[in-house]
């Protein structure tokens, strides 16, 4: 699995009146595509700060002391604000803790959801098209190099690939819109009939009008093709014979007349209601049939239409079309094309390996160079030369970008810049500090009342900064060495299919046009998806008209509106009650599976995490103290802080007194020397107060930073409440499995 987001040695502090508050102290973690990472900890442990730094929205007094956040070949800590804007909300979006403060009180909900979609759509389309073209031209170049002498054929192929992709996706977008209308109609009529039967208040006139409008929009070249007899209908359907399109026209007329009948009916509307029910039931049967139809394979159809004429498939039904066109696509084009792509990828891969081997020697000499003495200009020009070499050696056709190689230039230059800045800055800062303290002491010595404090000095250790520079080079060197060693050279076939998939995705982005009406429909669908009833009415309301749970759903809908890669949830369910909480968690899980979303889930409630997380990082005082998969952390917790968190939470079988964690987290302006949790830890040893524990690996996926795991440490048993609970859970699970 590829890491979509990597956080390396992140350090963040805040300038406050009392001094520098160290909020995040050297944390690293990876987020895999399609996985959930949960960060658990008390308030003030730095979990929200971490998430905010990923999004680049740290407060003004924050200082990033070091580290990297790598996403899509970029270091999010170093890119300019313009570029961050393209990522923020679009690729990485966030659900905040307090829904009220993240919604604009004077803008209607609907506008808030659609705003970003409308604003970003054009740019997104353009960007996707650009990306598509750029990669396609790279592919073409590599193909030509891999297969010399076949230029004309390759050019033709690439052209075909480009054009059928785009046209097919336009067709598909139209089909999907029509399908969504049919699906919505099927559901909304079902709801209407159910409510009406139960004697609830329903808006008949609106329903009929809405129904007619939607029904008209379900007409599509493929969806409403053929005759009624082609549809798979429920038993006892009362639909007229003939083509589907004409049937729709007839129903639209009937709906209109039913509306008139209903409007003109006097006080007793029972007979009018019967007509309405009758027509709606028939419409429902029709759209039910439409929804059940087989989906056409647009890519093959697109190719077929590009190569052959559209006429010969017009008369066939969908299944036959699919069969015919997909066979055609496969035989005539795709097999060969995949083969060519495969060749191109292999070629580019081999090229890159060769270049990497070349650059390795240079990296080696760079390592020794940066360990010795150097001047600023020399170091920088050497760094630039080195970076060009590294960038040159990147495999052009890789989909998952090697973030390190891409950010190598900026990291190296930044490190050098930092080193020389502080060489200059440190003495000045020392002098200022000495001057101010002297002045203050003099004033105090004279017996004056001094109402100001000496600003603490902001200096960095030069040796450490120098090391940083050589570390950047060394890391790159190591990664390339690993890469070459582990290079299998195979599996290019898988990469080729992946690449074709990627093109398809980009193409779908490029043709996905949004106007106000589509945005509204999409927003309403999103609102329904996040569980808001009567979304059409709610669409035009203000945030204060919603309850807390509903507001949070709106915030989630806004976060999802842009189809992000990464969703950061900062305590999204803390203010909500259980049923709503369960719904929201289910929703996030569902969306994660559907959209292959990666989620960073921040919470203090371990119970919530169990359902969500694949990996869990327990944070305390700005450090990750335990890291592992959900099974590791819940069935085999090792850090005393994790024990404390687990045992302070009652479950359904808890009867005894709860083990509260005594005291409060330490003041991070003066972080404790040893383990930060030592003061509240009943298992603390002498060494805990003196030295920070390193990470002790428990298994491949699981580590904890506590001295208790040191081989010389005394054996400490897990608290009884937790071991009992784990035992209970084991038994329950085994019983459940046995039953299954």
């Amino acid at each position: 699995m590829a890491n979509i987001l990597e956080v390396k040695n992140l350090k963040i502090s805040f300038r406050t009146q009392g001094g520098t508050l160290k909020a995040v102290r050297d944390i690293s973690f990876n987020l895999e595509r399609g996985k959930t990472l949960a960060i658990v900890g008390e308030s003030g442990s730095g979990k929200s700060v971490t998430s905010r730094s990923i999004l680049g929205i740290l407060a003004g007094n924050a200082i990033v002391d070091g580290g990297e956040i790598l996403y899509d070949g970029k270091d999010l800590l170093k890119i300019p604000e313009d570029e961050m804007c393209k990522i923020r909300g679009d690729k990485i979006s966030m659900v905040f803790q307090d829904p009220l403060s993240s919604l604009n009180p004077i803008v209607k909900i609907g506008r808030q959801i659609t705003e970003a979609m409308l604003l970003k759509n054009k740019g997104n389309r353009r960007r996707a098209r650009k990306e598509f073209n750029r990669t396609l031209s790279k592919l073409r170049k590599n193909m030509m190099l891999a297969k010399p002498g076949e230029e004309a054929k390759i050019a033709e192929m690439i052209k075909a690939f480009d054009s059928y992709n785009m046209s097919a996706l336009k067709e598909e977008t139209a089909y999907n819109t029509a399908y969504s209308y049919a699906d919505e109609l099927h559901e909304s009529i079902g709801d209407f009939l159910f409510l009406q039967e139960k004697g609830q208040k329903v808006n008949v006139k609106f329903e009929l009008k809405d129904c007619a409008a939607k029904l008209r929009r379900t007409k599509n070249r493929f969806l409403t093709k053929g005759n009624i007899s082609d549809l798979k209908l429920e038993e006892g359907a009362k639909l007229p014979a003939g083509s589907i399109d004409s049937c729709i026209d007839k129903f639209v007329d009937e709906l209109r007349s039913a509306r008139t009948v209903y409007r003109l009916a006097g006080k007793d509307k029972s007979s009018a209601i019967d007509t309405v029910r009758d027509i709606l039931e028939r419409v429902r049967e029709l759209v039910g049939g439409l929804v059940e139809r087989e989906t056409p394979d647009f890519l093959s159809i697109g190719y077929y239409e590009y190569k052959h004429s559209a006429q010969d498939i017009e008369s066939l039904d969908t299944a036959a079309i699919n069969k015919k066109t997909s066979a055609c696509l496969r035989d005539e084009f795709l097999n060969e094309f995949t083969e060519y792509v495969d060749q191109a990828i292999r070629y580019s891969h081999e090229q890159s390996i060769g270049k990497k081997k070349e650059i390795l020697a240079e990296l080696d000499s760079a390592k020794t160079y940066y360990e010795g003495a150097y001047t600023k200009s020399a170091a920088k020009s050497y760094a630039k030369k080195l970076a060009s070499g590294v960038e040159n050696s990147i495999d052009e056709l890789e989909i998952v970008k090697d973030s390190y190689a891409y950010t190598f230039r900026s990291s190296l230059l930044h490190a050098i810049e930092q080193y020389f800045y502080f060489t200059k800055h440190n003495p000045k800062e020392e002098a200022r500090f000495a001057r101010q303290s002297k002045k203050r002491e003099a004033l105090i010595a004279r017996g004056k009342k001094v109402d100001w404090k000496v600003v603490p000095k902001r200096v960095r250790d030069l040796a450490e900064l120098r090391e940083e520079v050589s570390k950047v080079v060394a890391t790159q060197d190591e990664r390339y060495r690993d890469y070459i060693e582990n290079d299998t050279n195979g599996n290019t076939a898988a990469r080729a299919t992946e690449m074709i998939e990627w093109f398809r995705h980009q193409a779908s982005q490029a043709v996905y046009k949004i106007n106000k009406r589509i945005a509204k429909e999409k927003a309403i669908r999103l609102m329904k998806e996040v569980g808001i009833s009567e979304p059409r009415i709610r669409y035009n309301q203000y945030p204060f008209e919603f309850s807390g749970g509903m507001r949070q759903r709106i915030v989630i809908a806004i976060a999802l509106a842009a189809d992000p890669d990464i969703l950061i949830c900062d305590e999204p369910t803390t203010a909500l009650d259980v049923t709503i909480q369960a719904q929201i968690l289910e929703l996030i899980n569902k969306l994660k599976a559907e959209r292959n979303l990666s989620v960073v889930f921040i919470t203090h409630d371990l119970g919530v995490v169990a359902n969500m997380a694949d990996d869990i990082a327990v944070m305390y005082a700005g450090k990750i103290v335990e890291y592992g998969t959900a099974d590791d952390v819940f069935y085999d917790p090792r850090h005393p802080y994790t024990w404390a968190l687990l045992s302070s939470m009652p479950d359904l079988d808890t009867k005894e007194k709860l083990d509260a964690i005594p005291g409060t987290p330490p003041n991070m302006i003066y972080p404790p020397e040893g383990d930060a949790f030592a003061a509240r830890n009943k298992y603390a040893m002498q060494i805990d107060y003196e030295e920070q524990p390193p990470q002790f690996a428990v298994s491949d996926t699981h580590w904890a930073a506590t001295w208790l795991l040191h081989p010389d440490a005394p054996k400490v048993e897990i608290p009884k409440t937790i071991s009992d609970r784990i035992e209970r859970m084991r038994k329950k699970n085994e019983a459940a499995e046995a039953e299954a």
Binding site: E42, S43, F194, L195, K198, G199, Q200, S547, G548, G549, T574, A575, L576, D577, V578, T579, I580, Q581, A582, Q583, L585, E586, H604, D605, L606, G607, V608, V609, A610, N611, A613, A630, D631, F634, Y635, A644, L645, L646, S648, M649, P650, D651, L652, T654, K655, K657, L658, D659, A660, I661, T664, R725, M729, K732, N733, A736
Partner: protein, 400 residues
């Protein structure tokens, strides 16, 4: 059951609370009845907006209730007049068309009775505190009359008289309603940012007519230490405290009045897990020490289960199930309760991944078109909101 021997402290009888929403009315609490016995913890759960907080607030007379009555220590403290008004309206309507003489007389008598009831309810609603104060004053009078009469020397008698005056003034100012105190959900919003902790805690005492500064300070310090804070905190302002400490101040403020009952409205929802445990442990200690009765409103079911003796489940203003906490979790009957229990997150990843939430749809679940439901006792101590057919079904489910 041994529970039944304990005195009923609070009795909520057909409580209805509606709010005006434009022309229409919205019933936040609809015909809810329950009893809380002395020394027990009664948990009230339900989703947000189902009326649990409104119930708590109605008991405290923060709202004027629409219908039903609430009895505290046998004294009616709240009374609504809607039911009587409706009865009068119905009778009047019938009176217009009715020709039968005897029936007319009957209806007129009904109207007369309802009017009397309304007067009585209004009197109780308004004067319950004074009634209680009068009772207290009478008790103090009696006690001191006897003591003064028995006094041996004139000095002792004068001393007693002084004490008597002080206590009588306190008694006359005592409000019955102060015996019920509330802990609010949001520890930030519920503390006045311009008052020191001392002022916040002592406010209730001062309103109750205690003027002795030293005595007040003593009480404040004592309470502060009781809830796990220190004396020095008395001079500070709320913003200087963390969330857990603020909630402790909120608890101190309600306990200082020596209440007999506390309504805790989601006291731990806004707190971190580790702080939650501290606050729950504190409430448990206070409960033992002062023999408190607690009505615990919350939505976190595992906390409610841990803390409460009996649990009432509310849904859309109605009490749908009411029983002891063990029974509720072992044999949930109402489909809403089942759905609620299926939504509890547990610290167990493997079973969590397999958990399926039961979805509750009130309209699809019940058919109340012909047979109206009410709160019925299925087995002793286990009440469910249902109609005849469902009662049969539930009884079968429990094997009765």
């Amino acid at each position: 059951m041994e529970d039944d021997k304990r005195e009923v402290l609070l009795k909520v009888d057909h409580l209805t609370q509606s709010f005006k929403m434009g022309r229409s009315e919205f019933k936040a609490v609809d015909d809810v009845s329950f009893e809380i016995r002395k020394g027990e913890v009664f948990g009230l759960v339900g989703e947000s907006g189902c009326g649990k907080t409104t119930t708590g607030r109605s008991i405290l007379k923060i709202y004027d209730i629409t219908g039903g009555s609430i009895y505290f220590k046998g004294q009616r403290i709240c009374a609504g007049v809607r039911t009587y008004k409706d009865a009068i309206k119905a009778a009047r309507k019938e009176l217009k068309t009715c020709t039968d003489e005897s029936r007319r007389a009957e209806l007129e008598k009904e109207i007369e009775d309802s009017r009397k009831e309304i007067t009585k309810a209004r009197y109780d609603h308004k004067m319950c505190d004074k009634e209680y104060a009068r009772k207290l004053v009478a008790e103090t009078d009696e006690k001191y009359k006897k003591l003064i009469a028995e006094a041996k020397s004139p000095e002792e008698a004068s001393k007693l008289r002084k004490e008597y005056r002080k206590e009588r003034s306190i008694a006359s100012k005592t409000r019955l309603i102060t015996k019920i105190q509330m802990i609010f959900q949001d520890p930030i919003a519920s503390l006045d940012p311009r008052m020191t902790v001392r002022e916040i805690i002592s406010e209730g005492l001062i309103i109750n007519g205690i003027k002795d500064k030293e005595y007040i300070d003593e009480r404040v310090y004592e309470i502060l230490e009781l809830v796990g804070l220190v004396r020095e905190h008395a001079g500070r302002y709320p913003h200087e405290f963390s969330g857990g400490q603020r909630q402790r101040i909120g608890i101190a403020r309600s306990v200082v009045m020596r209440p007999e009952m506390i309504i805790a409205d989601e006291p731990v929802s806004a707190l971190d897990v580790s702080i939650q445990a501290q606050v729950i442990n504190l409430l448990n200690e206070l409960r033992e020490q002062f023999d408190l009765t607690i009505m615990f409103i919350a939505h976190d079911l595992s906390v409610v289960k841990y803390f409460s003796d009996r649990i009432g489940v509310m849904y859309f203003g109605k009490m749908v199930e009411l029983t002891t906490s063990d029974e509720l979790f072992a044999h949930p009957l109402h489909p809403y309760t089942k759905s609620l229990l299926s939504a509890i997150p547990l610290p167990d990843p493997r079973s969590e991944k397999k958990r399926t939430r039961i979805v509750y749809n009130a309209l699809a679940e019940h058919d109340y078109s012909t047979d109206k439901p009410s709160l019925r006792e299925i087995v002793p101590g286990h009440f469910v909101h249902c109609n005849d057919a469902e009662e049969e079904k539930y009884k079968k489910e429990l094997g009765v």
